[in-house]
Amino acid sequence: MTTYDERTAEFKARIDAGEKIEAGDWMPDEYRQSALKFIEMHANSEVMGCLPEREWIPRAPSLRRKLSLTAKVQDEAGHGQILYRVAEDLGKSREQMFDDLVNGRTKFHNVFHYPAETWGDVAVIGWLIDGAALVTQKALLDCSYAPYVRAMKRICAEESLHLRHGEDLTLELVSGTQEQFDLFQDAVNRWWKPIMHFFGPPSKPDKDVLLYWGIKTRSNEDLRQEFFSTYVPKLWDVGIDPPDPDLAYDEARGEWTWADPDWDEFWQVVRGNGPMTQTRLHRRKAIWDHHAWVRETFEGIPAQAV
């Protein structure tokens, strides 16, 4: 009879060999908890990520954008739906996860704690932030937990569409009137710091629990470098300059240098003190609490004979 430690070691060896874990498999508690927490936070981020952009659906300046923005925010809610489903199978109900989220007990990504002030912000969110998200999400396609990998396949496919839409929206702005160009540059100036925060502080790979269990497969720095290489030249090529004077590609070392963003602000926001954190959570909580009667309606109806 193998001990818990022996089974855990075996499990780790399987992951290191590239094997994938399914929902019904035995897993060490630390793996289950790490995966659940990571996927729950991802799901939370998708539903909270709806909030900055949904403010612009009523204000979209053309029917086409009104429709595509609605479809995009719908997709994000859909990603939340997919991810909560995966997380539920790891042992926590969606109702509990939602309740924890709106009551501030669990977290969502920093980048969704900021206001979407102008249509320029919609472009930045739609192109650069979705671009950053896609970089990290593609890395999850190699994750050790198979249900999460399957979810990420659909999510990445939809995010690629969002990205093109975001770029299309951006290109209209930078090639439009001076006012439109300025709208986008101004938004980039305000969003650059949260985008740098998006990848997290430079991590110590050997201390990263998520890397250990194969839930994350690439380091924060690796992902940030990929983001720079993909998006900074594209911004420069249309005359847009990120507000970091230290941002430069070091040809000798083959990597980007960049100024440390304010990591104090990062930790503040992680703790729930972002500019829009409380406003958004309160609004969500108000809707959630008010509509308990809807949940009761769904819980109370006897199941039809199947």
Binding site: R64, L67, S68, A71, Q74, G78, Q81, I82, R85, E88, R94, K138, R154, S160, L161, R164, H165, E167, D168, L171, V174, S175, D222, Q225, E226, S229, T230, V232, P233, K234, L235, W236, D237, V238, G239, I240, D241, A248, Y249, D250, E251, G254, R295, T297, F298, E299, I301, A303, Q304, V306
Partner: protein, 119 residues
């Protein structure tokens, strides 16, 4: 509230593509159309209560993905965005507005030689 598996038809078989939370079969079928098939992925779909063997196929296929043109939801509707970017870049170059600083070797070239980060 139950979890209902949502299935897509692939050739001769049904494949689980996700799940919905709904109080009963009727609502589960109604939800599944928009949670998993709003882009018209397939002519038909089915749901199955988790733990049960019984598959419930949607009675008729019309309506999945809608009838009118939903270009705002489709992959191909924003194709050509790369070309648009190049065009605007060209215009900006002529106006002297491009920010010309050192950058990694061309992405396409990097892909061809296999070096650099996964794109």
């Amino acid at each position: 509230m139950r979890v209902w598996e949502v299935l897509q038809r692939r050739k001769d078989d049904w494949e689980v593509v996700g799940g919905v939370k709904a109080p009963d079969l009727e609502i589960a079928m109604h939800f599944a159309r928009e949670t998993h098939f709003r882009r018209g992925e397939g002519d038909t779909y089915a749901v199955r209560l988790t733990g049960s063997d019984e598959l419930h196929e949607v009675p008729e296929s019309s309506g999945i993905g809608g009838v009118i043109d939903r270009e705002f939801r489709r992959m191909d509707s924003f194709a050509g965005v790369g070309g648009k970017h190049r065009e605007i870049h060209e215009q900006m170059r002529k106006q002297g507005r491009v920010i010309d600083r050192p950058r990694p070797p061309d992405l396409r070239q990097r892909r061809a030689t296999g070096e650099g980060a996964r794109a």
